[in-house]
């Protein structure tokens, strides 16, 4: 059931690790100067999480999602969320075929291995929840029939900052379904110059070749869960979680699910970064993206944005 930009599957290198390194390199060549974000995005996907990219328009959100799909060799569909988008536009509809005299399910764009939900907060909550339910359940029910979504399955959603006009901000419970929330930010001078001089990114996109197939990806996802984690590191994670719960600046601290997400993301990041085990650096790298949208600052706190709040937590917890 792979439709749209179905990619030609290539014979790939036997070693998942090499494939991953190649993928990082390819991505780095398209999205300039965002190595950290690329690592995080890959870590998110390897940890079997969905990714939310939040930033202003024009900062390369779509390009990042598209290139990840290409590099990882995944089928790709893009859903542009608008205020008149209906759930059926996402999951698909059943159409009556006269020749067979039966209803036939016409799968929607959600049935791709990597779905880019663009500007997800432009759509009504009804359409949003159709996507988010599919993300959580990894299956879609239409007319009483349950349709499995493909494996691997990723959703990369992008959203505009919620203070922009015409947005329906995702509720906290929905935000929780994204393993990470990334901000891309502006490129620096040097990279922007390279971007201006270089080839058109969309054209480059068509030229990059997949570095792995779904089997390799599955192997990678398995390998990620086996990354070594020592007691001192678990102590560190616990100290961070405890701090978020006890700090007077934070109203809602990390839930146990949030703590699990933190550990899973840190493992994947350690794997992407080729560390021998999960290092405190990995925890710190993923802490902002994982915890940022899960923490709620106290009403009188000086730390307003997720980034400020994450930094505050990291700066106040000793690494054991």
């Amino acid at each position: 059931m792979q439709q749209g930009n179905t990619l030609e599957k290539l014979p790939l290198s036997a070693k998942p690790r090499d494939a991953l390194n190649a993928a990082r390199k390819s991505l780095g060549s398209i999205i300039l100067g965002k190595d950290g974000e690329i690592s995080l995005a890959l870590a998110c996907l390897l940890a079997r999480g969905h990714l939310l990219i939040e930033d202003l328009p024009g900062l390369g959100k779509t390009i990042l999602a598209q290139s990840i799909a290409r590099v990882l060799g995944l089928s790709f569909q893009r859903i542009q969320f608008t205020s008149d988008l209906l759930p059926a536009d996402i999951v698909g509809v059943s159409i009556f075929r006269q020749e067979s005299g039966q209803f036939e399910f016409q799968p929607g764009p959600i049935f791709a291995e990597l779905v880019l939900a663009d500007e997800v907060n432009r759509a009504t909550p009804k359409a949003q929840s159709a996507l988010l339910e599919a993300m959580e359940e990894r299956q879609v029910s239409v007319d009483g029939h349950t349709h499995q979504l493909p494996t691997p399955y990723f959703v990369v959603a992008t959203q505009n900052p919620s203070d922009q006009i015409g947005t329906f901000p995702l509720p906290e419970s929905q935000l929780d379904r994204f393993l990470m929330r990334l901000e891309l930010g502006y490129p620096n001078e040097e990279n922007e110059r390279a971007l201006l001089i270089g080839t058109d990114r969309r054209q480059m996109l068509t030229q990059i070749r997949p570095t792995m197939n779904p089997e390799t990806l599955t192997a990678l996802q398995q390998a990620v869960t086996e990354v070594h984690m020592t007691d001192p590191l678990i102590d560190y994670v616990q100290a961070l979680v405890r701090f978020t719960r006890e700090s007077p600046d934070i109203e809602t601290g990390l839930s146990p699910r949030g703590a699990l997400a933190l550990v899973a993301a840190a493992r994947a990041h350690a794997y992407v970064e080729n560390h021998s085990g999960v290092f405190p650096d990995d925890v710190q790298a993923v802490f902002g993206p994982v915890a940022g949208h899960r923490l709620k600052p106290a009403s009188n706190s000086a730390y307003r944005t997720p980034a400020e709040l994450s930094r505050y937590v990291l700066d106040n917890v000793n690494i054991p």
Binding site: H228, M229, T230, D231, P232, L233, D235, A239, E246, P248, H275, S276, G277, V278, F279, P280, D281, Q284, L314, D315, N316, V317, N318, I319, P320
Partner: protein, 667 residues
Amino acid sequence: MSKRSGTDGSLLNSLPWTLAALAFSVLPHLQFLPIWVTAIFLACSAWRLQVERKRWRLPPAWIRILLALGCFIGVLASYESVSGVGPGSALLAVMAALKLLETKQRRDQFVLLFISIFLIMSSLLREQYLWSLPYLLVGVLFTMTAWLRMSDTRKVSLGQSIRTGGRLMAYSIPLMIAMWVFFPRIATPFWSVPIDTSSATSGLSDRMSPGDISSLSLSDAVAFRVKFSSEVPPPHKRYWRGLVLHRFNGRTWTGNEPSLDSNARKDITFQGEPVEYQVTMEPTRQHWIFALDIPSDWDLGQTYMAQQQQLARMQPVDQRVTYNAVSYPDFLLDSELSRFSSDYYTRLPDNSNPRAVALAREMREAAGSSEVFINRVLRKFNQEEFFYTLQPPPLGSNPVDRFLFESRQGFCEHYASAFAVMMRAAGIPSRVVLGYQGGEINPMGEYMIVRQADAHAWNEVWLPRRGWYRIDPTAAVAPERIEAGRSGAMFDGIGASWGLNAPSELLYQITMTWDALNTKWNEWILAYGPDNQSQFMEWLGMDDPNWRKMMLTLIVIVIALIAIISLLLIMRYRPPPKDDAALLYRKFTRAAGVEPEMGETPYSYFARLTNERTELTEKAGDVTSLYLDARYGPTELASMKNLENAVTEFSRQKKTRGGRETHSPAS
């Protein structure tokens, strides 16, 4: 104008707790304090709470000063003193209430809670009953909870605060026990607390003026408790001898000040079987010691028998005392009476109670012998219209005449006084004995309770060959008063006011159980005085215990306990001990001379370190990656040896580079 602006309501969460803790600590004092103290306390609390709720302003300084002065004068006026437990606690309560009016911030609440703790403790200066312990524990827990709720800025559930408070208290329990066991008890305390004289109601009066007080208040307070090791004597032999009154001025009977008379004991011939028992006496602040009529031996220090066989201790009984005694209910006392004594014990003031004197003489002549006369007088009490009542009318002058011929209502004092006067008028030596009669057995603890309500007055008359012997004229009027096995008086007082005639069995059970518990409390906790303490110290192996040794032991134990508790806390709140890799890394950061910041990862530390000192990059990088592998990687990768070498190399390079740099910065 900010100085005069209203409160910001920030104390609204913690203030009710502080107030509640304060109220709880004042509570046991209130019944002893003048009513206006309670009024001021309530008024200030309500005022302060309203101030916080309505964002009013606190009263200005001059009002507070005026109030403080007024309260001080009030205490002075109520007590005519500012020292002692009564005025002291009144001052504390009033000043705590006034402190509320200047409580602006958390610090002021701290002060209030300190006062609250102090008030709780000072209630022990008044009384140390069984309920004092739970009260103390609950009070301190209450204050701790208030403290925690005040200090916590986060939203903490009440249960959590109480649990934390309880845990803090639990830490202090070993300390508490050590203090209790080892703090030196000294026979003569370093300090003495002046107790309110008004509250010292217990004990017998050492004079007797029947008719002056028209009603006797019956207190169910315990006078003493007795444990018999031999058979318990029957109710009509339970006469607890206290003091003897032998001087009569027409209205009032008085006795001697307690003094030693070495002959007193020689005058007794003991007969029959002895009764052995142990008495635990509540403090009376008097010298008299009570024993079953008539004591032969007692083991209380500095206690002597006075002239009329009454026991007295040289020091007044300020604390609860326990003593063993042996008594002989059957005895012969003073078989011979000197002419002087005989005169003395028949002396009556001239022209007082003339009708009684005349009646007695008439009856004596009609009777023919003293024995018959005595019986006739007793029969007169028994058969004529005499009533036993606790609310007799006042008698005025010549009270015995008034009593015998007019009112004919009275309690033991009236009968004893009238009887003694009549005996003396007839020439029979007689005197009045004050003490306790009766006592009820507590089935819960197998001991006897003698209450203040059992206080009694009876007579002793002297007859040739029989010596002094006891006659209880009250028994002739109200034999049930003597024969009642159970103290009915207590229920007469309390029960009657409730409209109950007989005490309910349940109430009786509760009262007895409560008293048995109190006895255990006295025996095990309060009786731990100087004697018991030195015995216990010797049992623990301390030679020749004195207060220095105990104090030293206490200090050592306190330090040890604090150390143990601190250690436990450190272990609880400190991260687990650093492993080898962490120690080596610590060595590395020390050698680098740059302290890692809070929350700085090894990589970011490395970046910061080598940002300025690029020449260190290689070795520091080695250390960092080896450390990360050793500490966070799988065990098979951990190589302490390599890490140690890397750290040593780094230190060496740092030293030589550093040295070279100082010598020739150009290179």
